[in-house]
């Protein structure tokens, strides 16, 4: 690889977009090239500053309202279900009724468990919003996992996994305790490009059937999953992709 080529390749390298072979090619060149090393350092600095300078704009609440209203106007809000229902009644035959009854049982079961997990999700999102109020985010403010982890000792009857992911772009901010569904849960706080991510952790309880494991509500994304012993839920206004990345890191 020559310098001219490396001047472009260094960008793919720093963006993590090169395959293994091209990565190794670039590293082999950069190792012996002072100029390319300096270039790499300069680009890293530039990238870090762009990412950390709080340059992102947020949509105003007013814009969200305007869009909601506009979308509602474009929607046929008269439910067509009534028409469908009438049509269904015209279809004769007991077998249809029997099938419908069977469906109803399944639907009721799903709706019930859905309501259950939906209620917990709503509580988790409320807890996230509450945590964003001044002074509510953390009980222990530390980016050091060796400070945060012992802080939970004696406060919970389980040990949440605590790790700092600064290197991967998710620095640990701190932790606190929260109450969800009447039980104490650990809340680990991470940040992602100025967005706060709450990671709620609690011991797995079998009675909860979680059918839905990701979604969004009032502009907040959430992602829920279960490990062998624990249940996790991430809540944030960061992108769903960011949440998936953090899930992978925690899962490792």
């Amino acid at each position: 690889m020559n310098c001219e080529f490396a001047r472009t390749t260094v960008h793919g390298y720093l963006d993590g977009e090169l395959d293994v072979v091209r990565s190794a090619d670039f590293e082999a060149h950069a190792e012996g090239c002072v100029e390319c090393q300096a270039e790499m350092k300069a680009i890293s600095t530039l990238r870090r500053q762009l990412q950390q300078s709080d340059l992102s704009e947020q949509a105003s609440p007013d814009l969200l309202e305007r869009i909601r209203k506009q979308i509602a106007q474009e929607t046929n809000e008269k439910p067509s279900k009534i028409r469908d229902f009438r049509r269904a009644l015209l279809v004769p035959g007991l077998s249809v009724l029997a099938a419908a009854a069977a469906c109803l049982v399944v639907v009721l079961f799903i709706v019930q468990s859905h309501n259950q997990s939906g209620r917990i999700t709503a509580e988790l999102i409320d807890a996230h919003v509450r945590s964003l109020q001044p002074g509510h985010l953390t009980d222990v403010l530390s980016a050091d996992q060796h400070t945060v982890k012992p802080w939970f000792d004696g406060k919970l009857d389980f040990v949440p996994p605590v790790a700092d992911f600064s290197q991967q772009g998710f620095p640990l901010v701190g932790a606190r305790l929260d109450i969800i569904d009447g039980h104490e849960v650990a809340a680990l706080v991470y940040s992602r490009r100025k967005h706060i991510i709450n990671v709620f952790v609690w011991p797995y309880r079998e009675k909860e059937i979680s059918l839905v494991n990701s979604g969004s509500r009032h502009g907040y994304n959430w992602l829920q999953w279960q490990s062998e012993e624990m249940e996790f839920c991430l809540v944030s206004d960061a992108s769903a992709q960011d949440l998936r990345e953090l899930e992978n890191l925690i899962g490792q």
């Binding site: 472009t8 960008h11 300096a38 530039l46 300078s53 340059l55 949509a59």
Partner: protein
């Protein structure tokens, strides 16, 4: 006419990306009020074309529509913004000094001005990559740049920004 369940699905899949949409439009149009108008219009378009979204990367799908709306608006209202050429070669500039750059760009305002002074096509890839964290694949999908040239476009955009930051400082010093 779309049905209530479409609206629900749209609100769940697309509205969470409204901040990304607002951010991209704000940087392309360089004006908050104009960009909110364009985003509102783009969201309506997205809703009308929602039946064409068959799952996958919702943010990239939405941002593609927002970007197109921005360029249409710029062509109509501020076509001079699109005249700046952005096709220079990747330069081999003398070895930069990262420490000086660090001192120079600490100032958010200065970084903002430098980014705003770039041609739209350089600005958008930087915003998508550094502020929105998009992958090359997503950048290609949103901007229509062939996937094979995303890296070189980013290389040129970063060099351009770097040069803008360093020359601006040189002028202020002299």
């Amino acid at each position: 006419m779309l049905e209530p369940q479409d609206r629900l699905r749209f609100e769940q899949t697309m509205l969470p990306h409204l901040n990304s949409a607002a951010n991209l439009a704000r940087w392309l149009l360089r004006d908050r009020a104009d960009s909110e108008d364009v985003v509102q219009e783009a969201m309506l378009r997205a809703y009308r074309f929602f039946h064409q979204f068959h799952g996958g990367d919702a943010r990239a799908w939405l941002l593609q529509i927002v970007r197109n709306s921005c360029y249409t608006w710029l062509e109509k209202n501020r076509s001079a913004d699109l005249m700046t050429e952005f096709n220079e070669e990747v330069h081999q500039h003398p070895s930069p000094n990262p420490e000086t750059l660090a001192a120079q760009t600490d100032d958010r305002e200065r970084l903002k001005r430098a980014l705003e002074s770039l041609p739209a096509r350089a600005r958008e890839v930087l915003v998508l990559r550094e502020l929105e964290g998009c992958s090359y694949k997503e950048i290609a999908e949103i901007t229509g740049i062939p996937i094979g040239t995303v890296m070189s476009t980013l290389a040129r955009a970063r060099q351009r920004l770097y040069r803008t930051l360093t020359t601006a400082t040189a002028k202020e010093v002299s």
